[in-house]
Homo-oligomer: 442 residues x 4
Amino acid sequence: MAYFDNISKIKFDGPQSKDPLAFKFYNPEEQINGKSMEETLKFGVAYWHTFMEDLSDPFGVGTAERPWDKYSDPMDRAKARVDASFEFFDKLGVPYFCFHDFDIAPEGSNLKETLANQDVIVDMMEDYMKDSKVKLLWNTVNNFTNPMFVHGASTSSNADVFAYAAAKVKKGLEVGKRLGSESYVFWGGREGYESLLNTNMGLELDNLARFFHMANDYAKEIGFDAQFLIEPKPKEPTTHQYDFDVAHGFAFLQKYNLQDVFKFNIEANHATLAGHSFEHELHYARINGMLGSVDANQGHPQLGWDTDEFPSDLYATTLAMYEILKNGGLEKGGLNFDAKVRRTSFKPEDLFKAHIVGMDSFALGAKVAQRLIDDKALESIVEKRYSSFNQGIGKEIVDGKTDFKKLQDYALKLDKVENESGNVEVIKSILNQYLVTTIAQG
Amino acid sequence: MAYFDNISKIKFDGPQSKDPLAFKFYNPEEQINGKSMEETLKFGVAYWHTFMEDLSDPFGVGTAERPWDKYSDPMDRAKARVDASFEFFDKLGVPYFCFHDFDIAPEGSNLKETLANQDVIVDMMEDYMKDSKVKLLWNTVNNFTNPMFVHGASTSSNADVFAYAAAKVKKGLEVGKRLGSESYVFWGGREGYESLLNTNMGLELDNLARFFHMANDYAKEIGFDAQFLIEPKPKEPTTHQYDFDVAHGFAFLQKYNLQDVFKFNIEANHATLAGHSFEHELHYARINGMLGSVDANQGHPQLGWDTDEFPSDLYATTLAMYEILKNGGLEKGGLNFDAKVRRTSFKPEDLFKAHIVGMDSFALGAKVAQRLIDDKALESIVEKRYSSFNQGIGKEIVDGKTDFKKLQDYALKLDKVENESGNVEVIKSILNQYLVTTIAQG
Amino acid sequence: MAYFDNISKIKFDGPQSKDPLAFKFYNPEEQINGKSMEETLKFGVAYWHTFMEDLSDPFGVGTAERPWDKYSDPMDRAKARVDASFEFFDKLGVPYFCFHDFDIAPEGSNLKETLANQDVIVDMMEDYMKDSKVKLLWNTVNNFTNPMFVHGASTSSNADVFAYAAAKVKKGLEVGKRLGSESYVFWGGREGYESLLNTNMGLELDNLARFFHMANDYAKEIGFDAQFLIEPKPKEPTTHQYDFDVAHGFAFLQKYNLQDVFKFNIEANHATLAGHSFEHELHYARINGMLGSVDANQGHPQLGWDTDEFPSDLYATTLAMYEILKNGGLEKGGLNFDAKVRRTSFKPEDLFKAHIVGMDSFALGAKVAQRLIDDKALESIVEKRYSSFNQGIGKEIVDGKTDFKKLQDYALKLDKVENESGNVEVIKSILNQYLVTTIAQG
Amino acid sequence: MAYFDNISKIKFDGPQSKDPLAFKFYNPEEQINGKSMEETLKFGVAYWHTFMEDLSDPFGVGTAERPWDKYSDPMDRAKARVDASFEFFDKLGVPYFCFHDFDIAPEGSNLKETLANQDVIVDMMEDYMKDSKVKLLWNTVNNFTNPMFVHGASTSSNADVFAYAAAKVKKGLEVGKRLGSESYVFWGGREGYESLLNTNMGLELDNLARFFHMANDYAKEIGFDAQFLIEPKPKEPTTHQYDFDVAHGFAFLQKYNLQDVFKFNIEANHATLAGHSFEHELHYARINGMLGSVDANQGHPQLGWDTDEFPSDLYATTLAMYEILKNGGLEKGGLNFDAKVRRTSFKPEDLFKAHIVGMDSFALGAKVAQRLIDDKALESIVEKRYSSFNQGIGKEIVDGKTDFKKLQDYALKLDKVENESGNVEVIKSILNQYLVTTIAQG
Ligand SMILES: [Co+2]
Ligand SMILES: [Co+2]
Ligand SMILES: [Co+2]
Ligand SMILES: [Co+2]
Ligand SMILES: [Co+2]
Ligand SMILES: [Co+2]
Ligand SMILES: [Co+2]
Ligand SMILES: [Co+2]
């Protein structure tokens, strides 16, 4: 049955289109550096925001008009959502989706029933996926909504909760394997603290590492070769999340010898909440070989919580795609729209319109980024700027052939140190030129 | 004598230009809604950042290479700056400039000498201005740098300081009149508090109002008809500046019956430090009839102080120009680049390059904004959204023809309240389309 | 019937008490400057947080264990809450409470039913209040939770919603009158904007003013003489709330000639979200004669949303009480605990424990503040600091007997301007001394 | 010669003292857990803030009145500062001090002269230290003020600058050895980026690691066994400092195999600028065995830059001392007052008064913290909260004796998961009780 009858398959209509239900910049077959936009961008739909979100906020109940809400039985509603989702994926033309366990199937009255509910839906999804080109980008489990997880899951102060969380992740790994998931994500839900004063952070972090090692062991045991991903976030819902940002995660992974098992799923809004730019987090992960996947959304510069807006800022999408293209793509990752329509955009068609905005914004960002790379517009500036490390004392430093005594001898003989302007203003202007002329260039 | 020998007059070279010393988007004669870009944008150079700033920061001494620094005598250096500035205005092609008293002439050993120093420089400027099309957008006095103003100026705890500040502003008004300044600015320097615990805020605000009334009286007395402007800023250097944002200023002006004497000079970076967007402050001032002038710069989203960067964000410049164009321009105001090159951009030519970036960014913003207005791209959405106030109960509300009893009667009969989607995502997408296609459209 | 059987009446047990269900500092009969603590502090319980809040957050469902949840019928549950609340007020010993219309009674299937539901509960409350010393500090209506208010209430883009909001406030005023409410609060729920791009801010603010005038007219008509209060908040749920802070509200009230009708209800957490300290907002309101009432809570310095924590920071409570005591108390206002227990504090007894923490923190703050006032510990510093305005040129300034010419003459004759140290560090130390020695002094 | 003639040796005068030049809480000989306050707190004076700082800010010149400024020759002034500093240490009674190379001696016209200037002053200090109990807590070099370091020092884009920086640190290590410094600090000055767009972060971080390894090699070579310390800071002066916070530093150290060579010097104001609480950073370092030393200051909750205020917040000092005492003290670290008097506190005696406030605040914090530890006031809560990990499934988790399959089996059999309240409100109240009753207890 159809849930979006009034929506046709979304088509590319060009940059001047006035149709909110058409792509202006995303043209799936268009080539970017020898690959189609579709392959390059690997867009994914977040099941939770698109099919579960009722658009409530802390000051108001849900406003969302969702056709599947006509079913009162939770399993009926879950099945209707699967139907609606594959219709949505097809009409929008996205190749991937992502979900938590509780997005796809309701909790039962006990764990056994909960797991059984998932099996029903996974069967149904598997059927759909046979006849669809849509794939699972990543799955995860929701170990934070249920009151049981009030003090965390793998970092709970309650050992029973740790066990329960493990039971759910075990199932998540099995589901991921069945559906051929490319990655598996660990977002730290309530893994953090409300207050340091009642917290044993040392034990909690040790337990988190134990949990990750057991997850890895079990994935190996069942032959699930997805890329494991940590998704950092600095705060919310807890006061201080342990996976604060990529660097926190990287410190943790190294301490517990997990750095070869995990990469990072970087969300734009989480980056900015942590006091970094989106591109900073991507860049830091990339140069450390840890860039796994991206949660494509944006925050609001005046708001201090995770607004999960659909990405529209072309500076951010351009610089994000710049990092991704320089990374050689995302391998087992993609661009998951961990984004929700505003509470004021409550119509079913707003789901399409908002995804179109996000896809257009990243498609245009990719085109601009590729032009920057092709022209070496930024790289040539950077190369020239650091050229002193290609020869003489600079090369000795890089080659490890010097020491403080030799360097002091060298410095004592230096007549004058000459620096060049960093040209930051001009570089921003180049970015602007690329942004506003790329469409004209086709 | 020439200070920028290696710089020729800056020319418009088009959007694809790779010359950092050419305009890409600012073409002074190009028409925007029947006026030249030059008249529409009214760009001004900030004397302090461009000719006084040594690019020191709290962690390092100045890096700026400035040819006029070869003069060791303060008055010689001040005169050299005047020469350099008019060369700069001419080569850059800006029609306005702005200054504080201490930017143009050094303090003497006492107030009399200080005022006399200003006269020498003002004479020199007057001469230059006879042969130049460059005009004074606004002047002001620096009542915050000297240690005397450690506790504020017109809000100092020390009555002598109040008097001293008045003496300087009196001179500032005279200088403004002599040079035909279009506006006169009051930025609140240290008018605020370090700590509430040692502060008599009531007395300080009363004194501030007394000061403003005296300034207005004196301006009238000497026939100086400039627009008076308050420039709000929320903090820095004090912990809490009294002119926190436009609304704080508006509350103050109304309380002290000064709302007809003043408008606001709105700085982008001050807006964002106050927790608002730049366009919010402009819009709020506009709908209250208080939009006077603009300090065109930008802050850094990850930094919590006034970075005064040259404006390059095209979203910000477009939305700022949207407000300014809807305001019918800025009358006695303009776009003053209260912006400084980064400490890493220390070469003299960086001063030109950075201004070019700012001018190009606002020129492009103006073109995009005018297209949005011409097409009623946003206005038609807004008009439709509020159309219920053009008829029926809505019209009665607006016309003041109803009351709570009638409204309750009406509401009791309402069957269902129907709302429309706010379409926020789509509107952002429209803005993107205008941004990236305006150049292609010519 | 009793809902808190395991809780006895809360008693004062002194500063060393280890009983989480006893007061350590709040001793209702203890005198502060000739009035009992109970009269001085006028504590109120917020019905919504204490009896409605399920402790859900955007990432998890409710955790709260609440005995009245055993009733499935909404009216039964509403009645149970009334029973529970008066038991709670009595056992805790608070003299006041506050509510929204939807806190006390569920919405019906239409407005008529909704209003009728309220009547049932108000009857019940009236009965309780006859035999209780508990009074209504203020009431208000919730015009933000229902999806109808998605675009605001009195600032909605939909005229029907304006009418509906008016109908509800009309009832709110009638309910307030019936229950003898001392004040009536307008918190701006969704009166603000999601995005400036689709908003007619001018019309929305005009409509807000029209709404307030109609409310005032109706209150006069029915003889409801409560103090009207605006509760400012800068953001959340909207991106930009119109009543951003006290200064925004004050500017608005003056523009629309409402400044004699309203005062402000200042919430600590809203103050800090707006970039001010709590005491700043109180002080600013006080010196403008606009300090009406206080929402006693606190935010979290690392979190960017309204956490509504129970107040425990003794610096904040001391400085808040300092302002309140200097204001001569709050007249028709009080200290309403607009605060919720943490999601991790989900037991019924946590409601008592958390209120005790808040009451103790303000009681201690009041004792410290009164000592500061009695000793003129801060006032003598301030008086001395501004003493130059009591004589000579300072007195002429304050008396309006001078002008810029006379002040310049004076300044030209000044030999040297001498400033005093602001002593900020020492003043903080004095505050610390008062804080840690007040208990020892008894 | 004496520079503080009007100041006598600062004495302990008790909690009720009204003398701003006496200690209220710091009593050097008083015992805390068997050690004197002096040994426990290891206070140090920051040479830069106390003897170099002129109290200028970006909007004003220096206000500081400093008796040594009467000397115009830089070396004379440097020598006067040494005299003044040892007089200051002695009168204040602090056992330690800290400095940068450029604090103690002016730069010469070339590197050779610069190093020679340092030798003169180090000789002089060595003389003083023979007759004084004052020791060097740590030294460092200033590789950020000179324009040469505009693009960083060991992360400069210019290899010559790397060499120059190395030359200076080599000397710094030699000076540290001569003066018996307990630690040696690396604060990342300009080691970060202005803009990611012109930065090779990978090369810069590799070079930073090379620099640290060379520093360690040289320290070993000369037998300087100080503790190496990284001082994290998230931003300012650069847009993004590489040593953002402790976790960033820990990730870096592990990646480059430097984790056994370094610990962290944690500054309160840097912690809060990074979005953490002070105690969080201390705790995180402690549980990772990386807590080295502390820069004792505080930031301002409403200001977004490094205000370096003298510490006065008793919550912060108590929780900091709690971490330090639980760490068994700081071994080769101490409490360095990296704090400056406010620009409005410009008198010489303000230097004493402000240090007294800081010392009193930490002394009181230490007393309160020790009481909390002695009573196990917080520890017993934490122990009970995590007791499920001492037995059964919890113990198996901690002992590594389980896996996902066993945990799922366990979870499937769980009837119900029972959680306890986190009691956060009550715990804050306990902290308040300890704070306000400790003085009464003596
Ligand atoms: Co998010
Ligand atoms: Co995400
Ligand atoms: Co400005
Ligand atoms: Co500025
Ligand atoms: Co409130
Ligand atoms: Co609140
Ligand atoms: Co420091
Ligand atoms: Co600092």
